[in-house]
Symmetry: C2
Subunit: 218 residues, 2 copies
């Protein structure tokens, strides 16, 4: 019996896109189902009763929640193609460390850049650039965080790369002069086939960000 | 050559204890080094330059940071004894999901119970019990979150179980009537050999909590 793979997702989500990319890296066919976040489907509420959030991967009826948990699950189930995590335990621990760093130290200020203004936004911009500089230093002269391989950490960051333009426009600042190496890697990631097929048009994300921003920053 | 395993830790830490327990579950001999958090050792700052926090596991000179990342690393390196994560990818994803839940939805209110008072503390107590009830429901009639096995999720919760008495005394409330099944599992976990050897005397944690509380709640 063929696998039934359904992804409950929302198009501008930097979390949802991680699952999309991982599935495409593995060549897994899946049914994409768009959620309306103001009116969540009964299936989403049933499959993720704890957080009630996208993305949710439903594999043969069983739900997996939380974006990087989904990516790791995909890597373990479809282990025969394009490994996303290294096989060496120390390198795996390093990859998980950086993903955790991204989901706390990059996420928190990033979220504030487009949803706040004034001093709070200025502080968030500063923290955001500081976090990106730490990542730039970790990246070093490697093409990807995964070395020569587009891997676990790269997938996690691509959810932010696709929002870079929206952050810059909402915050009126520029990332590239601060983090040129990271930006070069971001461009490399955004050109990958699995990514091109998964990320929305940056202009649409900018438009979406400004629309939501109007609600938050009255 | 024998493995050199060093753990940089701080005795009342619910995060540090996770690493201690995992090492003892695997029968790994290690050197425990107590850190003074107001005056962190040069080794800690060198081994965890990003977060500058304990616990840090140093295995043959290489540092692994973040408590559950350390536990997963230990499980992968010493894979021949007492598996902590299940082998099935779906069950692994479930275990990681619950650990993530614990480290956000249990951690945040727990932290406020002993460091705040008044309305903020009341709200934290409510959120804390709500989170524990979700865990109680997930536990069901299993002896451990790992089923018959003391596993990944149980290790992550033991860091909180050892603080239960301190939370109750700081917050003037009682966990057991709200979550009897979870409490029964907590007692089972706290009786394990690896845990008994790793957790401090609860009275000392209570004393420590009240000492710190005086600084936060002036």
């Amino acid at each position: 019996m063929a696998d039934e793979v359904i992804l409950l997702d929302f198009w501008p989500s930097g979390f949802g896109v991680r699952a999309r990319i991982a599935l495409r890296e593995k060549g897994v066919e899946f049914e994409y189902r768009e959620e309306i976040l103001r009116d969540k489907s009964p299936l989403l509420l049933q499959m993720n009763p704890v957080h009630k959030k996208i993305p949710v991967l439903i594999h043969n009826g069983l739900p997996v929640c939380e974006s990087m948990n989904i990516v790791q699950y995909i890597d373990e189930v479809w282990s025969d193609k394009n490994p996303l995590l290294p096989s060496n335990p120390y390198q795996r621990a390093q990859a998980r460390f950086w993903v955790d760093f991204i989901d706390t130290k990059v996420f928190e200020p990033a979220d504030k850049i487009w949803s706040t203004k004034g001093e709070v936004q200025e502080k968030a911009k500063k923290e955001y650039i500081e976090a990106l500089k730490i990542l730039e230093s970790e990246l070093g002269d490697k093409p990807f965080f995964g070395g020569d391989i587009f891997g676990f950490v790269d997938i996690s960051m691509t959810g932010y790369y696709m929002w870079f333009e929206a952050f810059e426009k909402c915050g009126n600042f520029s990332i590239e002069p601060e983090c040129p190496t990271l930006m070069a890697s971001a461009k490399r990631c955004l050109q990958r086939d699995s990514v091109v097929k998964s990320v929305p048009d940056p202009e649409k994300i900018v438009e979406f960000a400004f629309k939501i921003r109007k609600i938050y920053c009255v």
